[in-house]
């Protein structure tokens, strides 16, 4: 079915209470699709739906309203902040709340463990046959990596677009899996979808951390032709990517691939011939979208091909180095990126746990304290990523290396880098912040699921 009428489409879909409906997050904080679809489902009086969204952002106000009214009973996602996080934290969700990883979600969908009844997939450009792409259209977002498995495996897949093209659209969403196409006047606000230009940090602390992380890479033994690398879109990560590019150029080294979310510094590396391939599961800025159109070495990939732990050819199984953030780290190197130290939901694993486990060198970069809150805690509020997969923590006051990686510690010490044990780093932060009082947790509100479906930790509401 191809229609401009959402209500008519919903009649055809015969949605029932308790169904699992999926959405992807490539339109990020510019997404209009989830709000519009969920509002229609709420008007129809549907109850107890399972919201299965790869990520939830502040723009998703309707999802929060659906939780309050009982339209949504369960939520499974990989990343959440904004009103949905607040509604869940206030105990408004009547059913289960599950935080997955990007790779874990793809695995659960492909294996049928998380069967999707209807996938509502915002798609910036769709052709007459039902092929979909994120590279073209008014709301172009680049790679649609987190939509591919949903599209292929859902009982019914709906591509929702504002750009129906007459010409064939080559893209990641093949017509063979498309059941319906819905055209809306607009699927999103381009201003909220991608950034014009992401800012490399100018903050001196961030730059200090970036310089030290780059030195860790230089002396890790992994800097050689064929090295592979992943970093995110945060200011420190982008600074490291730029410095890594300069290091590749200065040493005459060519990397094999950069993976994950792609932004301008990654594209710059490809176009300077410093890296052979960009394996792109999502684009972070306009430069990355433009690169997908013009660079054959810039390859969009699905979440499953990116990080599904049961996929033997997943990209990150060959990943050498990953740069990751943290809101909290404990002295066992376990990392929290799901909540802050007070229990507020601020994000989630995304690809954090996937890449930490698969990479040869997982580097956490973070300042030792933010305001009066120290990074290193004796006990995490939430464990997102297991410490056994983390190799080192780079902070502005030193580098702590996981005790299991004494070879790395030896290399860094030999290079004159400031290697200190993690307890010492914790104490040096406490000298400024004081030792924090233990935070009392409230009721359990959900679980953090590992990439193989195991329970990594329980999520708690903050007390009081």
């Amino acid at each position: 079915m191809r229609t401009d009428d959402l209500e008519a489409l919903l009649d055809v879909l015969e949605l029932r209470d308790g169904m699992r409906v999926s959405f992807h997050h490539h339109l990020r904080n510019g997404d209009a699709v989830m709000n519009e679809v969920l509002a229609a489902l709420r008007r129809r009086g549907l109850k107890d739906l399972h919201l299965y969204a790869s990520a939830l952002f502040p723009v998703h106000t309707e999802a929060a309203a659906c939780i309050e009214e009982g339209t949504i009973r369960h939520v499974t996602t990989n990343y959440v902040n904004g009103p949905v996080a607040e509604a869940i934290a206030r105990g408004k969700l009547r059913g289960e709340f599950t935080m997955q990883t990007h790779g874990g979600r793809a695995r659960a969908v492909l294996q049928g463990e998380n069967a999707i009844d209807v996938a509502f997939l915002a798609t910036p450009a769709v052709d007459a046959e039902g092929n979909g792409s994120g590279i073209y259209g008014a709301a172009a977002c680049g790679s649609l990596g987190y939509a591919v498995e949903d599209h292929a495996c859902a009982k019914r897949s709906v591509l929702i677009t504002d750009s129906l093209e007459d010409f064939p659209v080559p893209g990641q969403l093949s017509a063979s899996h498309t059941d319906h196409v819905l055209r809306l006047p607009s699927i999103g606000d381009p201003g909220g979808i991608v950034s014009g230009t992401l800012e490399v940090t100018r903050d001196p602390l961030g730059l200090k951390i970036a310089r030290m992380a780059t030195e860790v890479i230089r002396h890790s033994g992994l800097l050689r032709n064929g090295v592979s690398f992943q970093s995110g879109a945060g200011g420190i990560s982008l600074a490291i990517t730029e410095q890594f590019n300069d290091m590749l150029a200065a040493t005459g080294t060519q990397a094999s691939f950069f993976s994950g979310g792609i932004a301008a510094p990654h594209v710059k590396a490809l176009e300077r011939n410093l890296v052979e391939k960009l394996y792109d599961v999502q684009c972070f800025d306009e430069e990355a979208i433009g690169s997908l159109q013009r660079n054959t070495g810039h390859i969009p990939i699905s979440a499953g091909d990116y990080a599904d732990p049961t996929n033997a050819s997943r990209v990150i199984k060959d990943l050498d180095i990953v740069i990751l953030g943290a809101s909290e780290v404990d002295t066992g190197f376990n990392v929290n990126v799901t909540t802050d130290s007070y229990g507020n939901l601020i994000g989630g694993s995304g690809g954090h746990s996937d890449t930490a486990e698969d990479s040869k060198l997982a580097i956490i970069v973070a300042p030792l304290f933010r305001g009066r809150t120290p990074l290193i805690q004796e006990r995490l509020f939430t464990k997102t990523t297991s410490g056994e997969h983390i190799d080192c923590l780079v902070s502005e006051r030193g580098i702590a290396v996981h005790p299991a990686n004494d070879k790395l510690a030896g290399r860094l010490k030999a290079a004159g880098l400031p290697v200190v044990d993690i307890e010492t780093l914790m104490q040096s932060a406490h000298a400024y912040t004081g030792r924090p009082k233990p935070i009392t947790r409230g009721d359990a509100i959900g679980i953090v699921e590992g990439r193989r479906g195991d329970v990594q930790d329980t999520l708690y509401r903050k007390a009081g």
Binding site: R202, L205, E396, R397, G416, Y432
Partner: protein, 277 residues
């Protein structure tokens, strides 16, 4: 001896607590221009409390107020500082400072930023209590009615004059900070400081410190050349010889020795095996 002196505003707690990590060779905790008149007392207490509880690992100086020395020194007693920076330095302010020091053996860096200070520069540099001269370019430029130029011509005489005095009396010559925010201008200004012969330069932003340290550290190429000169001298005892077509005599030999000393101080001396990498 330092390459970089980072100014840290005394009234900003976040800057105080992070100042140590930016790799400056020395820190100057500022009670003067960075702090408004109504915040002076608060800044004094903040700096005192901070230095008592978190003494930095590198030498710490306090820039005091030339017109409020007694009040500033009332909070410096017993602090683990290396010295003080005296703004608006003159023979008169130096005498007032000496009274406040009251036998305390702190290092004094004289901030030379008025035309009259240049008229008595030799006396300032000769004073046994003064360990270094800092050029205060912004104030001096204003006093001279000069404007900042890309070439730095407006401060060339002052820079050269200050260097002469510092070298004549064997004390440190520290160049004025670059006060603008453009990276290209900073790089040009930094190259100028090094080329003129300054020992160090002040920084007013932490991001200026790493390039500043790098610029004042001898390059590996210069270290290799200096090593060859000194080794040749040590092997043969000659003080005048030709090396790769270049004439080496006593001044060149001395320069090479000084460069190796600086390289050693800043941990830039690598083993021969490293050089071959």
């Amino acid at each position: 001896m330092a390459r970089s002196y980072l100014f840290v505003p005394g009234n900003v707690p976040r800057m105080l607590q992070h100042a140590e990590v930016f790799e400056a060779d020395a820190l100057i905790f500022d009670l003067e221009d960075a702090v408004s008149l109504e915040e002076k007392d608060e800044a004094r207490q903040l700096v005192r409390s901070f230095l008592q509880t978190h003494p930095p690992s590198q030498p710490a100086y306090v820039r005091v107020n030339a017109d409020a020395l007694a009040r500033d020194f009332s909070i410096l007693d017993g602090l683990p500082i290396h010295g003080v920076v005296l703004p608006k330095a003159s023979i008169q302010t130096l005498a007032s400072l000496r009274e406040q020091l009251d036998g305390e053996e702190w290092s004094v860096l004289a901030l030379v930023e008025t035309p009259s200070a240049f008229l008595e520069l030799s006396d300032l540099a000769r004073d046994p209590g003064v360990d270094g001269l800092i050029l205060g370019g912004v104030d001096l430029r204003a006093a001279l009615h000069a404007h900042p130029t890309e070439s730095g011509i407006e401060l060339l005489y002052a820079r050269s004059r200050l260097l002469m005095a510092a070298r004549a009396y064997g004390i440190e010559a520290i160049d004025t900070p670059y006060a603008e925010s453009d990276d290209a201008g900073f790089e040009t200004d930094l190259k100028r400081s090094v080329a003129l012969g300054f020992d160090a330069k002040c920084a007013i932003h932490p991001n200026q410190v790493p390039p500043l340290n790098a610029a004042f550290t001898p390059s590996q190429e210069r270290i290799r050349e200096a090593r060859r000169i000194v080794e040749r001298h040590e092997q043969t005892g000659e003080v005048r010889f030709s090396l790769d077509g270049r004439m080496v005599d006593r001044p060149v030999l001395e320069e090479a020795k000084q460069l190796l000393e600086r390289a050693k101080r800043y941990k830039a001396l690598k083993k021969e095996a490293d050089d071959a990498d």
